[in-house]
């Protein structure tokens, strides 16, 4: 199984990565090689093996419902590239979510 250039273009859009024509070329090759290598796993006979939903055999990890101190606003906004006194600022969000 090999990856097409169109698939890499789509994935790069989803990841918000702007790739040049050249980068798209070698990225398609390298990602394809990785997938092909992973495809080796497909050769294992998994008949009768239950699929895992989680890597760790742990379940029901809870915390009680209680308010804990968080960050003050200055700390929360400290790394924002753009901000005003109260909020993070981002390029205009137009249209509805």
């Amino acid at each position: 199984m090999s990856l097409t250039r169109a698939e890499v273009e789509k994935v790069s859009l989803l990841a918000r990565l702007l790739l040049t024509e050249e980068e798209l070329g070698w990225m398609t090759e390298q990602l394809g090689a990785i997938l092909e290598y992973m495809a080796l796993l497909g050769e294992v006979d998994t008949t009768g093996v239950e699929p895992m939903a989680h890597a760790v055999e742990v379940s029901n990890v809870f915390r009680p419902d209680g308010v804990q101190p968080g960050l003050d606003r200055e700390a929360a906004l400290a790394n924002a590239p753009h901000r005003d006194a109260e909020c993070y600022l981002v390029p205009a969000v137009l249209g509805e979510v």
Partner: protein
């Protein structure tokens, strides 16, 4: 003319669960705080932070799912739904994909039967109606008493637990410029309840929402405050248009075909489905009803113009615009269908045992549908009356039950609660807990009414006095000068007036009993405490004795 189509509606409802803290961290969920004052490294997506599940949120979600008659799988897990948006700091939302905590449930709603000769099309008058006169919930339009309604089960596809995103604010007036992001809401627990496309009219959609909200209130799992975003509704809607012959072009004047209760997909022969539209931005149940009514008519017009069917155009999203009362096409997020879900490695799955589910079921308490039936059976009131009472919430029902038990007359108690009590609550904008006259005190008054010693009109004055002065029924009656008129006094007054009015006596003897009514006014002037019915009865008895 009935519309030649059936409206097919499915609703997605997001409710905020009543927890103190967020789903995966200890930040407060309080509404209305200053922006970005309720955050921590977990909910703003700092690298290295780890989410831990809020036990209460899972409990409330399961409680709701059990009440919605859902199947609760033994094993449930959380997944990452990946997309980029400024109000989603982690770049993914923690939600549930293939193993939600519940599925395949139902909610029963009351529906009015279709008027004979009418198809299930949209009632045009929904668009023209003004605001409802009763600020409290009125029963569904079109059914006004016993025997005129039936129930319908609306399927629930799933109810799953996920986290909310933040809030983005854009100042349109300021023109261009930046959007402001407040992350206080990020990570708040939401239960997403997805219905089957079983709803067949905007009114049914509203009825479903009203019943769902009532259920959530009784369960105590959410405050369902739409203004504060605790309950949000998105609707998926399309039309099944009946075309006379297979493959004909759209035409008018076609006999409607009922599709009630049938699965809408795939459409039956001779039925054409229009492309599905998701309607958003509806801020009240009324807005949902109006948006759906508008959207149905718009889709029919569009179909007549373009002939486009389901599958020939992609699913689109439209926003309800309250100002223009129309839906408008919204720009959809690019590639938004590709969320690349995968299991969240930071969260452990949850395993729910049969015993836990049974415990939840046992703790549900009495839910609206069962409560309505009990009130009807125990107190002999009509389904209409039980609906009005139950829709006011459990505290009012408890008041009613106490009153009905104390006065021994469920119907009388129901009338008084619906008329005098609810009117006062409305006028004073208070809840039943603040109503000054407790059930025992009101029962004392109703007992006097029941005995026939006090007329309803006078009794209302007494209640008014009780409300204003805090007096008991007996004290208030005394203060108003209301004393019971004994039989001898009634008889004396009757004799006096009959003697003075031989013409009326003659009329009654000639069979015109109505004549007695003319004496009631005079009698009341002589003694305002007189019971008109007793006076009338006594007069007729005396006249009979004269024969």
């Amino acid at each position: 003319m009935p519309e030649p189509y059936t409206v097919v509606i499915g609703l997605e409802v997001h409710v905020q669960l009543l927890t103190e803290s967020k789903l995966f961290c200890g930040c407060s969920t309080r509404f209305g705080s200053a922006p970005n004052t309720q955050t921590c490294p977990v909910c703003i997506g700092m690298p290295g932070s780890l989410p831990v599940m809020n036990r209460r949120a899972v409990e409330l979600a399961l409680r709701t799912a059990v009440a919605l008659n859902c199947e609760i799988p033994h094993f449930t897990k959380w997944d990452r739904k990946n997309y980029y948006y400024p109000d989603l700091p982690k770049g993914y939302q923690i939600s549930q994909y293939d193993l939600p905590l519940s599925r395949d449930g139902w909610l029963e709603i009351m529906v009015s039967p279709l008027p004979s000769g009418e198809g299930p099309g949209v009632r045009a008058d929904v668009l023209e109606e003004g605001p409802h006169p009763n600020p409290l919930r009125a029963p569904t339009e079109g059914w006004s008493g016993e025997g005129t309604s039936s129930t319908k089960r609306i399927g629930i596809i799933r109810a799953h637990l996920e986290e909310d995103a933040g809030k983005s604010m854009h100042d349109e007036a300021a023109g261009k410029g930046d959007s402001r992001i407040d992350l206080n809401r990020t990570g708040t627990p939401l239960l997403e309840i997805v219905s089957q496309p079983d709803l067949r009219s905007p009114e049914e959609a509203k009825t479903y929402l009203t019943e769902l909200k009532l259920l959530l209130n009784y369960l105590g799992v959410s405050d369902c405050n739409m203004q504060e975003g605790s309950l949000r509704v998105d609707a998926n809607v399309n039309l099944h248009i009946n075309v006379a012959e297979k493959g004909t072009a759209p035409e008018k004047g076609i006999v409607p075909l009922l599709l009630r209760g049938q699965s809408p997909f795939p459409a039956a022969e001779g039925i054409i489905a229009t492309p599905i539209v998701e309607v958003k931005n509806m801020n009240s149940f009324r807005a949902v009803e109006r948006a759906l009514a508008y959207e149905a008519q718009r889709q029919y017009r569009e179909y007549q113009e373009t002939g486009r069917k389901l599958g020939e155009a992609p699913k689109s999203t439209r926003g309800w615009d309250e100002a223009s009362q129309t839906t408008r096409l919204q720009r959809s997020k690019e590639e938004s269908s590709d969320y690349r879900y995968f299991p969240d490695p930071d969260l452990a799955p949850v395993i729910v045992t049969e015993e836990e589910i049974e415990q939840i079921r046992a703790d549900l308490g009495e839910l609206p549908a069962a409560l309505r039936t009990r009130l009807e059976q125990t107190y002999g009131i009509t389904p209409y009356d039980s609906d009005v009472l139950v829709n006011q919430g459990r505290p009012l029902v408890d008041y009613y039950i106490e009153l009905a038990e104390a006065c021994g007359d469920g119907k009388l108690a129901s009338n008084w609660v619906q008329q005098s009590v609810l009117r006062t609550l409305n006028e004073r904008q208070i809840g039943i807990a603040q109503f000054p006259v407790r059930p025992a005190a009101l029962a004392e008054l109703l007992s006097v009414v029941k005995s026939g010693k006090l007329e309803t009109v006078r009794a209302r004055d007494v209640l008014q006095a009780m409300l204003e002065t805090g007096k008991s029924a007996a004290e208030a009656m005394q203060a108003l000068g209301i004393v019971e008129v004994d039989d001898a006094a009634v008889e004396a007054l009757c004799r006096e007036l009959l003697d003075a009015n031989p013409k009326i006596v003659a009329e009654v003897q000639a069979g015109k009993e109505k004549g007695v009514g003319m004496l009631i006014g005079q009698a009341k002037r002589k003694n305002p405490n007189l019971n008109a019915a007793r006076f009338r009865e006594t007069c007729l008895k005396l006249i009979q004795g004269m024969n």
